[in-house]
C-alpha cells in the first residue's frame, strides 16, 4: 500500500483491525482500556476527515453523503462508549465479575465490532455488507454471553439463533437481488455492486426485486429489532455488559437499518416494484405501539430501556417508510438523537446498577437523594427519551408527527397513541427510581461524567438550535433518500 491509498476509509477500517490485534496481545487492563479509547478516538478523527476528502467509489467501498452521517455518528458514540467502558470495567474487575483474560477478550471484540460496523457502513458490495453485518452479530453474541451467568447464556443463545436466522434470510434476499441483476448487469462483481445496481435497477425484473426485498426486510429487520422479530433484543440488552447495551442500541441497530435503507433506495428506483415504504412504515408502527405497551410491565431497568429502543427504531423505520423530504429529515434527526440519548442513558444506568448492585426497578429508589448527579442524569435522560422539550427528540418526534399528519393523517393516530403510552410508562417508572426514600448503597460513585454530559449537551443543543449548515446538510441527505 502506498501513501496515496491512505484515506479516511482505509483508516476507519485499519485502525480498529490493528487495535484488535494489539489489544489481544496486551495483558494489563489499564493499558488496554486506554488503548481502546485512543483507537476509538483516532477512528472518530479519521471519520471526520471524510467530510473534507471523499475517496473515490470502488467496487467494494462507497462513501457518499448518506453513509457519512452514519459513519461519523457511529465512530463518535463508539469513542464515548469506550470512555465509559473504561470506568465501567474497572468496577467489574474489582467486584470479580470479569477476569483479566475475559477483559482482554472483551477489548479485542470491541474493536472487531467497530471494524465490522464500519465495514458494513462503507461497503459498496451487498455481499460484503452482509458479511460485515454477520461479523458484527457474532462479536456481539460473544460479548452478551461474557458474564457466563445462566441468564447471560440464555440471552446470547436466543440472540444467536434469532440473529442467525435473520441474517440467513438476508443472504437469501441478497442472492435474489443478484439473480435479478444478472440478466441486465451480467455476471461477476457488477451484480453485487450497489452503485452499478442502482444505475441499472430500472431494467430489473420487478417481481424478483419484490421477493428479494421481503427477505431483506425480514432479515435485516430482525437485526433492527422491529416487532415481531424483536425477541432477542431485550434479553441481549439486559444481560450483557452495559457498554455493549449502549453500543447495541446506539449503533448496531442503526447499521442494520442502514442496510434496509440501501435496498429501499434500489426498489424506489424501479417503477414496477412494490413501494418499500408502506412495508417499513407498518413494521415501524407495529413496533412502536407494541413496545410502548410492553414498557409498562418491565421490572428490569436495562430491559425497560431496551424496549424503549424497539419503540424508537419503530419511529425511525416509520419515518423513513413514510418518505418525502420532511419525514426523511425527521427520521435522520431522530436516529441521531436516539443514538446519543439512549447510549447516554445506558451509561447512567450502568453506573446506577453498579452502585446499587441491582437492575431491578423496584429495588432502586430515591436516586436524586442518594446520588444527586446520577439521579438527575437519569431524569434528564428519561425526559429526553420520552420526548419532552427542549431536548432534540421532542423536535424530531414533532417533525415525524407533523409530516405524518400532512401525508397520511390516519396513521398519525396510532403514532401519537404509541408515543403517549410510552411517555406515560417511562415517567411512571422514573418517578419511583428518582424520588422518594433512597434505598440500597449510598457509596460514592466513580462515574465517567464526560461522555454522559457530552451526549446530553448535543441532544439539548439540537433541540434548541440546529445550525443552518447542518440543516442544509440533513435536507440534502434526506433528499437522497427520496
Amino acid at each position: 500500500m502506498n501513501l496515496s491509498d491512505l484515506n479516511g476509509v482505509t483508516l476507519i477500517l485499519a485502525i480498529p483491525a490493528a487495535s484488535a490485534v494489539v489489544l489481544a496481545l496486551t495483558p494489563g487492563y489499564l493499558v488496554s482500556a486506554r488503548l481502546n479509547m485512543l483507537s476509538a478516538f483516532l477512528t472518530f478523527v479519521s471519520a471526520l476527515t471524510l467530510f473534507a476528502h471523499k475517496p473515490d467509489t470502488g467496487s467494494y467501498i462507497l462513501v457518499d453523503d448518506l453513509n457519512i452521517v452514519f459513519i461519523v455518528l457511529n465512530t463518535f458514540v463508539a469513542f464515548t462508549t469506550s470512555v465509559f467502558s473504561a470506568s465501567y470495567i474497572a468496577h467489574e474487575l474489582e467486584i470479580g465479575r470479569l477476569t483479566p483474560i475475559q477483559l482482554r477478550f472483551y477489548h479485542t471484540m470491541y474493536q472487531v465490532l467497530l471494524f465490522a460496523m464500519n465495514l458494513a457502513l462503507t461497503a459498496n458490495n451487498i455481499g460484503l455488507m452482509w458479511v460485515a453485518i454477520e461479523m458484527a452479530t457474532l462479536t456481539t453474541v460473544i460479548m452478551v454471553g461474557i458474564y457466563r451467568t445462566p441468564e447471560a447464556i440464555e440471552a446470547a443463545w436466543k440472540y444467536f439463533i434469532l440473529g442467525s436466522v435473520g441474517i440467513a434470510l438476508a443472504l437469501f434476499g441478497t442472492i435474489l437481488v443478484y439473480m435479478a441483476a444478472r440478466p441486465v448487469v451480467g455476471e461477476g462483481l457488477g451484480g453485487m455492486d450497489w452503485t452499478v445496481l442502482l444505475a441499472h435497477v430500472s431494467a430489473f425484473d420487478p417481481a424478483q426485486l419484490n421477493l428479494a426485498f421481503v427477505f431483506l426486510m425480514l432479515g435485516y429487520g430482525t437485526k433492527v429489532g422491529l416487532a415481531p422479530l424483536h425477541a432477542w433484543l431485550p434479553d441481549a440488552h439486559a444481560e450483557g455488559p452495559t457498554p455493549i447495551s449502549a453500543v447495541l442500541s446506539g449503533l448496531l441497530l442503526n447499521v442494520a437499518l442502514y442496510a434496509v435503507l440501501r435496498f429501499k433506495l434500489l426498489l424506489d428506483a424501479n417503477s414496477g416494484a412494490i413501494a418499500p415504504g408502506p412495508l417499513m412504515a407498518i413494521l415501524g408502527l407495529v413496533s412502536l405501539v407494541f413496545a410502548a405497551f410492553m414498557l409498562y410491565r418491565r421490572r428490569d431497568i436495562k430491559r425497560m430501556f431496551a424496549y424503549s429502543s424497539i419503540e424508537h427504531m419503530g419511529i425511525i423505520a416509520f419515518a423513513f417508510g413514510i418518505g418525502g423530504p420532511l419525514a426523511n429529515f425527521a427520521g435522520l434527526l431522530h436516529m441521531i438523537m436516539h443514538s446519543l440519548t439512549k447510549s447516554a442513558i445506558f451509561f447512567t444506568v450502568g453506573h446506577i446498577a453498579q452502585v446499587k448492585g441491582t437492575q431491578t426497578i423496584a429495588d432502586i429508589r430515591g436516586l436524586t437523594v442518594s446520588h444527586p448527579l446520577l439521579g438527575w442524569g437519569l431524569v434528564v435522560g428519561v425526559f429526553a427519551i420520552a420526548g419532552l422539550p427542549p431536548m432534540g427528540i421532542f423536535m424530531s418526534e414533532f417533525l415525524v408527527v407533523s409530516s405524518t399528519f400532512a401525508r397520511e393523517p390516519w396513521l398519525a393516530i396510532p403514532l401519537v397513541i404509541g408515543l403517549l403510552v410510552a411517555f406515560g410508562a417511562l415517567l411512571l417508572r422514573l418517578h419511583g427510581m428518582a424520588f422518594g426514600e433512597p434505598s440500597g448503597s449510598n457509596a460514592p460513585v466513580k462515574a465517567s461524567w464526560a461522555p454522559i454530559a457530552a451526549h446530553f449537551a448535543l441532544v439539548l443543543m439540537a433541540g434548541i438550535y440546529l445550525p443552518p449548515p447542518l440543516v442544509a446538510w440533513f435536507q440534502h441527505v434526506a433528499s437522497l433518500l427520496r
Binding site: G127, L138, W157, V165, A168, L171, R182, L189, R303
Partner: protein
C-alpha cells in the same frame, strides 16, 4: 449434454430437499447427525456439478469445504459432544411428527409456487435450483422451530445454511467473495456454538434449551 446437465443438477437439488425431510423425522441425535452428514455430501455433489456445468473452478472449493467441514468435521465433533454429555438417547420434539411433516410439505409447496412464478424469466436451471434452495431453507427453519434441544437446533441452522449455499452456487457467476464468506461464517458459527454448548454444560446438566427458560420466569 445440456439435457443431462440439467437433469443431474435437478436430481441433486431435489435430493437435498428430500434429505431435509429426512432430518425432520429423526428423533435420535446420532441418526440426526448421520442424516446431516448425508445432506452435506449431497450438497457437495450438487455444488461440484454446478462447478463443472458452469465451468467455474472456484466452486470446487466450496464443494470441498462442504464435504470436509460439514460432512466430516462438524458431525464428528458434534458426535463427541453428544457422547461426552451422554444425551444420545434423548428423544426431543416439541411438535409431533405428523403435523411437522405436513407443515414441511406445505412449506415446500409454498416455496415452489412463489419462486417459480416470480422467476419466470430467469434461466430454468437457476430458477429451479433457487426454488429447491428456498425449500431447504424453509425446512431448516421449521426444524429449528420444532426442536428444543440445542444440538438439533444447531443442525437445523446448518441445514438452512446448506440451502443458502445451494442458492448461491445456483446463481451463475456470483462473486467468490460470497461463497467463501458463507463457508467461513459456518465455521465461525460452529466455533461459537461449540463454546456455547460447553458453557451451557457448565451450568446445567442438559443441553435442553427449555431448561434455560425457567430462568426467564418471573422476569417477564
Amino acid at each position: 449434454m445440456k439435457g443431462l446437465a440439467f437433469d443431474l443438477a435437478h436430481l441433486l437439488a431435489g435430493g437435498l430437499v428430500l434429505v431435509s425431510f429426512m432430518l425432520l423425522y429423526q428423533d435420535r441425535l446420532y441418526s440426526l447427525l448421520n442424516v446431516f452428514a448425508l445432506q452435506a455430501v449431497v450438497l457437495s455433489l450438487s455444488v461440484a456439478w454446478q462447478a463443472y456445468v458452469q465451468g467455474a473452478p472456484h466452486l470446487y472449493v466450496t464443494a470441498a469445504i462442504a464435504l470436509v467441514f460439514k460432512a466430516i468435521v462438524i458431525p464428528v465433533a458434534l458426535h463427541r459432544i453428544i457422547a461426552r454429555l451422554g444425551i444420545h438417547r434423548e428423544i426431543e420434539v416439541v411438535v409431533s411428527l405428523g403435523p411437522t411433516m405436513i407443515a414441511g410439505m406445505a412449506l415446500v409447496a409454498l416455496s415452489m409456487v412463489v419462486m417459480l412464478r416470480v422467476t419466470a424469466e430467469a434461466d430454468p436451471l437457476a430458477r429451479e435450483d433457487l426454488a429447491f434452495a428456498l425449500s431447504v431453507v424453509m425446512l431448516g427453519l421449521l426444524m429449528m422451530v420444532t426442536r428444543r434441544n440445542a444440538v438439533s437446533q444447531v443442525i437445523g441452522f446448518m441445514s438452512l445454511e446448506n440451502g443458502l449455499i445451494l442458492a448461491a452456487t445456483g446463481a451463475k457467476g456470483m462473486p467468490l467473495v460470497v461463497e467463501i464468506s458463507v463457508a467461513f461464517s459456518v465455521l465461525v458459527a460452529f466455533i461459537v456454538i461449540g463454546v456455547f454448548l460447553f458453557r451451557i454444560r457448565e451450568r446445567f446438566d442438559t443441553v435442553d434449551v427449555q431448561a434455560l427458560d425457567r430462568f426467564q420466569e418471573g422476569r417477564r
